[in-house]
Amino acid sequence: MIEITFRHKKFEVKENMTARDALQKIGIDPESVLITVNGKLVTDDVILRAGDVVKLVAVVSGGSAIAR
């Protein structure tokens, strides 16, 4: 199992699937996050392996309608 952390929440997915598939499994829009594996930014076609530490970073702007 691989643990994915996003905003203080934790999800578990099976290993050896792509990050994109993993996001789909846990219901997160891949366009709305950046994926880091072991602290490094990766693309969503990367395959998650046992032992990987996966963290998601939300990309939505700070809500400021004018000065983003």
Partner: protein, 329 residues
């Protein structure tokens, strides 16, 4: 496909991002290295990334932060200013940061004015937007900056475009562009990041170790722009590139004249009786009207509302001057 750019290693991704920004600046003739640019910063990833990139490209930039007095559990405004100062010390130590704190300058925070005036149906966003636009334009125009640059990204632009299209807001469509030319009392407004996906600006901030405010403004919860962003992301997932195409094809149609709104262009701009800023309405501008409604019943404001905004501005300018060289602190 664009998302493959994220596959570049960190230094190359950063380079690609900087070069692409320069290309957009040239493509839309935004500004030159001989001109001074004012970057509106909120503490979020886009505006800080923008200030960073323009500085690396050798443009003469200063920053402007408008303190909104929005706190909540997250101490949102305090956190924003702290991030900006930290960023400035690390990434743009030679630039000036202008700070206009709304409460110090005009006597109330944004949530307070919103409550006191009739704008916005209980949400502060309308009062907030009006105030930010006013302060930013005024500072940029009066201090002689060639352009006011904001960090709007492709997702922002596409969401606004969708909203305006669904309501056929032809006036807004006519004015949605990477560059809005200057006018009498109006600063030129530019959006150098308008072709970057939101993920791309976030990735740039990450590879550059920019510590930005991750949390959204507490009032952004459930706002329409985020709703349209979600819809567009669903479209993008089905059809990669859809957001970029939606936006760039609109710009093409706009250039071809499909959205010319002669009536809105021909609206004569007048000068506000109170503050002298451009306005379409006779008498006071929307900003001065709102602040009057929101003003506390103190003598100066009751006797001569004509004084209030102007005096506040003078006081603010003095404070801005004091804060001028934060880099020296």
């Amino acid at each position: 496909m664009r998302h493959h750019k994220l596959a570049l290693c960190a230094p190359h991704y950063g380079e690609w991002f900087v070069v692409s920004t320069q290309r957009a600046i040239e493509k839309y003739k935004m500004f030159t290295r001989a001109e001074r640019v004012l970057v509106a910063v909120s503490g979020g990833k886009d505006s800080l990334a923008l200030w960073d990139v323009l500085t690396r490209l050798g443009y003469a930039t200063d920053g402007l932060y408008v303190g909104l007095g929005i706190q909540g559990e997250l101490a949102y405004s305090d956190q924003s200013l702290a991030r900006i100062r930290e960023f400035q010390a690390q990434h743009v130590p030679d630039a000036t940061l202008h700070i206009v704190d709304v409460q110090e300058t005009y006597g109330k925070t944004i949530p307070e004015i919103a409550r006191a005036s009739s704008r916005g149906h209980g949400k502060p966003c309308s009062a907030c937007g009006l105030t930010k636009r006013y302060v930013m334009n005024r500072l940029a125009a009066e201090r002689g900056y060639a352009a006011l640059a904001t960090g709007h990204n492709l997702d922002d632009e596409a969401a606004v475009l969708m909203q305006n299209t669904l309501h056929w807001q032809t006036g807004y469509l006519a004015r949605q562009a990477p560059v809005l030319e200057a006018g009498e009392g109006l600063a030129r407004k530019v959006k150098p990041f308008c072709r970057f996906y939101e993920r791309e600006t976030a990735a740039y901030a990450m590879v550059r170790d920019i510590n930005y405010v991750y949390d959204e403004c507490p009032h952004a919860v459930g706002n329409l722009t985020n709703f349209y962003k979600t819809l567009l992301n669903q479209l993008e997932a089905q059809s990669p590139g859809a957001k970029l195409q939606f936006y760039t094809q609109f710009l093409k149609a706009r250039r071809a004249g499909f959205f010319d709104a002669p009536s809105s262009d021909q609206i004569a701009l007048r000068v506000c009786d109170v503050c002298g800023q451009p306005t379409t309405a006779p008498g006071r501008c929307a900003f001065c009207r709102m602040w009057d409604v929101a003003a506390p019943p103190n003598d100066a404001l009751e006797l001569g509302n004509a004084l209030s905004a102007q005096d506040a501005w003078t006081a603010a300018s003095a404070r801005v001057a004091e804060n001028m060289d934060l880099s020296d602190l």
